[in-house]
């Protein structure tokens, strides 16, 4: 089992969309078992997999009530296993978060308890910035994927992410490293190009993908599809497929089928 935490220092970088699409792309490309876990109280990840927006079940409720994760797990049409955050009231949310703070290994233990096969891949989606959720994700992860935008704020926040990774991941022997994805790049804007260049230079091969700004990404969500299916010839879909391939290669993950 490989656990990938998808994180960012600031919000609105398209983390959830990226998590959903990378998971779908890898499933398409023949990854044996792909599981996504939503640790973001926004509970948005499920939408990307066609979940009912009104559904209440999720890891938050299940954990509070002591139910097994298996009971809330759904499977998307493309075959990705999805664990939504679920809908909880404010008191329950705070109770859940207190529980997480008290048990830093909670997520890692939960995942181990699932008894997933060794070639399974688990993505953890997290809310932006430092939080109990991000701490859980970082503690459980073998690989951290930091999502950045090609703007100055993202560049400035690189150091913060670095510190968090140092605190929760680096001392662990099973931690394999931090990777970066640059999202919503736009070749027509000079600032975007310049920051892309700076990040390419400073991150080197830790930058595993540049996903271009593409209207199809927004439209796909509205049409209840992954962008890979909605606009298969589009640039974002192409970038995502390439990024997924690089990620699989870095994780040493065998891909059974050819890319779709």
């Amino acid at each position: 089992m490989k656990v990938v935490a998808v994180v960012s220092a600031k919000g609105g970088v398209g983390k959830t969309t990226l998590t959903a699409n990378l998971a779908t792309a890898l499933q398409h490309q023949g990854a044996p078992t792909v599981l996504v876990v939503d640790l973001d109280p926004q509970n948005a990840l499920g939408l990307h997999f066609g979940a009912d927006p009104g559904a209440l079940a999720g890891v938050s409720r299940a954990s509070l009530s002591g139910d097994s994760w298996g009971s809330v797990c759904q499977q998307s049409p493309s075959g990705v296993h999805v664990l939504p955050y679920g809908v909880v009231n404010e008191a329950d949310r705070m109770a859940f978060e207190r529980h997480l703070e008290a048990n830093p290994d909670w997520l890692a233990l939960q995942l181990q308890g699932l008894d997933l096969p060794p070639d399974a891949l688990v993505f953890i989606d997290t809310p932006p910035g430092p939080s109990a959720y991000m701490q859980q994700a970082l503690t459980a992860a073998q690989v951290v994927v930091v999502v950045n935008l090609p703007d100055a704020a993202s560049y400035a926040a690189l150091a913060l992410m670095q510190r968090l990774v140092h605190t929760y991941c680096t001392p662990r022997p099973d931690f394999a490293g931090t990777l970066h994805v640059l999202n919503q790049a736009d070749g027509a804007r000079q600032l975007s190009k310049d920051i892309t260049r700076v990040m390419q230079d400073s991150l080197g091969d830790r930058l595993i993908g540049v996903i271009h700004e593409d209207q199809a990404v927004r439209e796909a969500l509205a049409y209840d599809q992954s962008v890979l299916e909605y606009d298969t010839h589009g640039q974002a879909a192409d970038d995502l497929r390439k990024c997924a391939q690089v990620l699989a290669q870095r994780l040493g993950l065998p891909l059974a089928g050819a890319a779709r």
Binding site: G187, D214, H233, Q235, D238
Partner: protein, 731 residues
């Protein structure tokens, strides 16, 4: 990278270590590895013994049967050798070819010129002289191309602060700005320390638009108050006001790749006596031969032999010469010889000759690092070859490489062949008309029986053909040389002879480039000499047929041989006529076929990943999924990439259908045009893929292609003649 010139047998030997080819190679390596060859006495003995043997092979007289047996054995050995790997086999084939040809020439002089009639003597000696010329060029050609050096690029020193300063000169006279732009953009994007790279446009046309263009881009703009000595004078004037250590020269339509300087400059660090390095001239548009015969990228063109083999062969002898563009010269030594030579119209070769005479090294690096426009029309192409031919004849007269100080034997021979080559005009015309002397006048140009002639001449021709096919296979297909020569022979004959008599006569002509041939037409003016020759040969053929059935008698064999020769000449002339049939050229700016990743971004924010099919400075051809419907006239942005760099260019759809999309760029800023150039024309690998990678020569297949084109030419001529007769009839 440069092309591996090894024959096919080497690839077989590499692939399978148990193949007979691999076995042969092991044996050859063992024999050449014998310690005895290191001994000077053994070497001398071997050379003397071989020379005596060669003399015997050349001169021993044989009767018909003996000669046939001997030739068959020798030719069988050559065919066998051609299937074996290694340069030693090539050298052995050359030796066989030289012995067959020398034997023929020896026999020719000793046995066939006892002329008794004045007419026989006149035609006969003419033919002998033409053959002697061809023999000399064959021998020196072998010397020149037997062992191409195949130099590889030398990496630059890691410490960038040691890299020298470079002035890039782009001389122009009357070429449109349109053509020059790309070259300037690419020169600006050369990968080199910016503080040591200075680009200058040398405008002999003194045009305002050029000045403004250069000022806007911030590149140097140099003019002078006269046009003395054309391009050479232009460069020399620029030398006076610039200061960098090295000069890189590009004709204004030769677009360098961004890697040009880094690929080429390393050799100047490795060899401090090196003062000039030349790279190949590659063309991304078809030349008139390629366009009119439809052989672009399918058949090596006229120039490829020179840049593929000849210059590389010259390089072994330290005799590669400057070709006017796509080259680097060191300033100090260039000034030492007085700048670019102005005495002749091939100032480039002459400058290199002067540098060689002072003992400096020159080099040729067979890596295409620039590409340009080929001459548009046949008349332009002919004009350019006339200039080269005249210039080389001028050098031969005024600064003959055989004489004078400073050259070693190899250099003298290589330069001699470069000049001698252009004297082919008259001999070629002699070959094209020689059999007519017999058919029309009954002149016996050979004082020998027809069978003896065949038994001696055929091995001479066949050996030369298979040997050259092995040496040149990637860069010149068999029999095509004859087509190229036949087209140009008439035109270069006169200027060469005039220049040889008085080198001062003649005028420099600039080749026009970047034009459009709006309508297909037949260039009667330029075709006139071959049409006339073709008609004469056809009449000769008719006479031959008539004689065959009426009065041949005991001369049937002679008659048939002359008729076969005439048929061959008719095919060559037919092919020459086909070249003059100018095909319509649709685009003003040529498109370069290339499959590059691209992304289209539509106005609604949607995108499409696709590949280019071709590019030009004004637009792109794109391959898109067939089910995608993109209306004509839509506006979009196209992204092109170079590793992790992206350029975005606004464009308008001008063609759309069936998986293809044509777009025209829309109002690119100068900055965007420069960026476009760096992502298309200036890509480091832009021209390497098509260099020397075409089909290898197979002599018989090649003969067939020449025959087909010869027939097509005669068909076109007949059709054109009928068409031009029609209006007369209806009058």
């Amino acid at each position: 990278m440069s092309v591996d010139q090894r024959p096919k047998a080497d690839e077989v030997a590499d692939a399978d270590s148990h193949s007979p080819q691999a076995h042969w190679r092991t044996v050859v390596h063992a024999i050449t590895g014998w310690a005895i060859w290191q001994h000077p006495t053994a070497r001398v003995v071997a050379v003397v013994f071989s020379a005596l043997l060669m003399g015997l092979v050349i001169s021993v007289p044989l009767d018909l049967q003996g000669q046939i047996l001997f030739s068959l054995g020798s030719f069988a050995a050559a065919l066998l050798l051609s299937k074996t790997p290694g340069r030693l086999s090539t050298l052995a084939m050359i030796v066989l070819s030289i012995s067959a040809s020398s034997r023929y020439i020896y026999w020719r002089f000793t046995d066939t010129i006892g002329f008794t009639h004045w007419m026989d003597a006149a035609f006969g000696y003419g033919l002998v002289l033409a053959e002697l010329y061809a023999f000399a060029v064959l021998l020196i050609g072998y010397f020149q191309t037997a062992w191409p050096l195949q130099r590889r690029p030398v990496p630059m020193p890691a410490d960038v602060s040691t890299w020298p300063s470079v002035d890039v000169f782009i001389p122009s006279y009357n070429e449109p700005l349109e053509v020059v732009r790309q070259t300037v953009f690419s020169a600006m994007s050369l990968d080199w320390p910016q503080d040591r790279l200075h680009v200058y446009v040398l405008d002999d046309g003194r045009r305002t638009e050029f000045r403004e263009f250069c000022e806007e881009l911030g590149v140097g703009y140099l003019i002078r108050d006269n046009n003395h000595h054309a391009k050479a004078g232009n460069i020399n004037a620029a030398l006076k006001v610039t200061h960098s250590d090295y000069i890189a020269i590009f004709d204004c339509d030769h677009i360098p790749t961004r890697s040009f300087l880094q690929v080429c400059m390393g050799w100047f660090f490795k060899d401090t006596n090196l003062v000039m390095l030349q790279t190949p001239h590659v063309f991304f548009s078809p030349d008139p031969f390629e366009r009119n015969l439809d052989t672009f990228h399918r058949m090596p063109n006229e120039g490829e032999l020179f840049y593929g083999i000849v210059q590389d062969g010259n390089d072994l002898w330290n005799a590669s010469f400057f070709c006017g563009s796509c080259a680097i010269i060191r300033r100090k030594e260039l000034l030492e010889v007085g700048g670019i030579a102005v005495e002749t119209v091939t100032e480039d070769a002459h400058t290199a000759l002067k540098l060689s005479r002072l003992g400096y090294n020159t080099a040729y690096l067979e890596v295409p690092q620039a590409a340009g426009l080929a001459t548009e029309s046949l008349s332009g192409h002919v004009g350019q070859r006339i200039r080269w031919a005249r210039g080389m004849a001028q050098i031969a007269r005024t600064d003959n490489p055989l004489f004078g100080k400073g050259l070693h034997f190899g250099q003298r021979l290589c330069y001699l062949n470069a000049m001698l080559h252009f004297f082919y005009g008259l001999p070629r015309l002699v070959f094209l008309t020689a059999p007519l002397a017999y058919l029309f006048f009954g002149a016996h140009v050979f004082q020998a029986s027809a069978l003896m002639i065949t038994a001696y001449a055929l091995p001479h021709l066949a050996h030369a053909s298979v040997t050259n096919s092995r040496i040149q296979g990637r860069f010149r297909h068999s029999f095509w040389n004859e087509v190229y020569e036949s087209v140009l022979a008439w035109y270069i004959m006169r200027p060469v002879l005039v220049a040889a008599i008085n080198p001062k006569l003649g005028k420099f002509n600039v080749t026009a480039k970047g034009g459009v041939i709006e309508k297909a037409y037949f260039d009667w003016t330029i075709a006139r000499p071959y049409v006339v020759l073709l008609l004469i040969n056809l009449v000769g053929m008719a006479v031959g047929v008539w004689k065959l059935f009426s009065s041949a008698g005991d001369e049937t064999t002679t008659l048939v041989i002359n008729m076969v020769w005439t048929v061959y000449n008719i095919i060559l002339l037919g092919a020459s006529v086909a070249v003059a049939s100018e095909t319509r050229q649709i685009r003003g700016t040529p498109r370069v076929a290339a499959s590059l990743p691209a992304v289209i971004r539509f106005e609604n924010g949607r995108t499409l990943v696709c590949k280019t099919e071709d590019f030009s400075q004004h637009g792109l051809g794109l391959a898109v999924p067939p089910d995608v419907d993109i209306p004509m006239g839509s506006r979009l942005a196209v992204s092109l990439f170079r590793s992790d760099e992206e350029g975005v260019f606004p464009a308008i759809v001008t063609f759309s259908g069936k998986g293809r999309l044509g777009v025209k760029f829309d109002n690119l800023s100068l900055h965007q045009q420069a960026e476009l150039a760096s992502l298309t024309f200036a890509r480091a690998d832009a021209w390497i893929a098509t260099w020397g990678t075409g089909q290898r020569d197979k002599p018989l297949r090649s003969l067939k292609s020449v025959i087909v084109i010869g027939l097509r030419g005669m068909g076109q001529l007949t059709a054109t003649a009928f068409k031009s007769l029609k209006p007369l009839k209806s009058r």
